[in-house]
């Protein structure tokens, strides 16, 4: 406890550094995964291969990826671009599956209706399919966000600043409170990012809340009818 009070600024700095690595990676995952998922859902034959490749990428342990990726990117191991790219790669690999499922789950009737109304392929995707897949996409992105935040600390082994530094520094110097606060702060950041995404989802998809409220009302009415019967 004393260690935490004496090192508040270290923890805050590390938290910001942590967010600066995690947030761009999460955004990158989403932006890259959507077109890939669209491709997988549009061209059924590519789906199996794309998901298999995504699965294999996700199977790669993070520390080796941080070391091998610079060979392809041409950056240094400790560069922030390298860390964000590696985190983003995992995010994409995880997100593609969720996003392909989310896009597939959109009702064909809605898509056909949009086509009948004269929507072109792009306008139909952006205006109809994407919003309807929204809730499922958000659910996937929340998983991606939490696992990205908890993956960042590994980069501290290469000397990149984040909450992971509290783990390595605490271990080297034998300060249990530092390691514990590193774990605690990472979990807090993960929960905060998750809640932020939920809030963002409510802002972007206000119709979901209205639908949920309507459903809840309908269930209570039905329940009353059941009880009355």
């Amino acid at each position: 406890m004393k260690w935490i009070l004496n090192n508040v600024s270290t923890i805050t700095d590390a938290t910001w550094a942590h967010l600066w690595l995690a947030l761009p990676a999460i955004v990158l995952s989403f932006v890259v995964a959507i077109p890939v998922a669209w491709f997988a859902s549009r061209f059924r034959r590519s789906r199996f291969t794309l998901l298999l490749v995504a699965g294999l990428i996700y199977a790669i342990p993070s520390l080796p990826l941080f070391i091998v990726l610079p060979l392809i990117l041409g950056t240094s191991v400790r560069s922030l671009i390298n860390v964000v790219a590696a985190l983003g790669l995992y995010g994409v690999a995880l997100m593609v599956r969720y996003a392909a499922d989310a896009l597939d789950a959109v009702s064909t009737d809605a898509l056909l209706a949009a086509t009948a109304m004269g929507y072109g392929p792009l306008r139909r995707f952006v205006g109809v399919q994407l919003p309807l897949a929204g809730p499922a996409l958000l659910a996937g992105l929340r998983v991606v966000a939490v696992s990205t935040v908890s993956l960042v600390p590994v980069s501290a082994l290469l000397g990149v600043n984040s909450l992971g530094m509290l783990l390595t520094d605490g271990f080297q110097r034998g300060i249990l409170a530092e390691v514990a606060s590193g774990i605690g702060a990472t979990v807090v950041v993960a929960v905060a990012v998750d809640l932020g995404l939920v809030g963002l989802g409510r802002l972007l998809m206000p119709w979901e809340r209205a639908a949920a409220r309507r459903d809840a009302r309908r269930t209570t009415v039905e329940d009353k009818q059941v009880v009355a019967a």
Partner: protein, 225 residues
Amino acid sequence: MNFLLAAWQWLADPVNASGPSGWGARTVEHLWYTAVATVIACLIGIPLGYAVGHAHRFRTFIVSSTGAARALPTLGVVTLFGLLLGIGLAAPMLAFVLLALPSVLAGAYAGVEGAPRDAVDAARAMGMTEWQILFRVEAPLGMPLLLGGIRSATLQVLATATLAAYVGAGGLGRILFLGLKTQNYAMMVASSLVVVGLAIAVDLAFEIVDRLVKRSFPKGVGAAV
């Protein structure tokens, strides 16, 4: 590309490949850790998951424990146990099992819990005991999901075993950290590539087993996915 060549030369050099700390022995050690930790996690996770899944209870507990495990930084668990238990194999092993357990538990639980009610009711109507229902109806139906859980648990341990060298364990991480400390990029890349190859090989092996299981249990829960 130069580094890739250097890494290849490092791997091909018999001095680096053989002996108790060569990459051959370290690979075996790495796989050994992974197998032991996964088996322990299965011994705890499968009975627990089956019991909870068969009883159809504590759903929130299982879901939230797997969710919380995802938020936990693996490096944090490894360093925390390293500090508490000291240098040696006990600390990393405990961390591996702890990190593998949620996936196994969730897989065992979801498979049994998701078995179609009709099938379970039919089995009960036929006079099967609860044990028979669990092992002859629910467990076979849940096999694909259980396997999925064991698969992600194994990959999780394989990845974490690389980090465990940081707190004094063996395995391929040993070579990786030696390369990091001595700024030997060829060594770092070489050992990283071996880990990457190992992970992909294990994942593909699970993919094959998964196909076989889905063929033997075509009506299994989640088999259509």
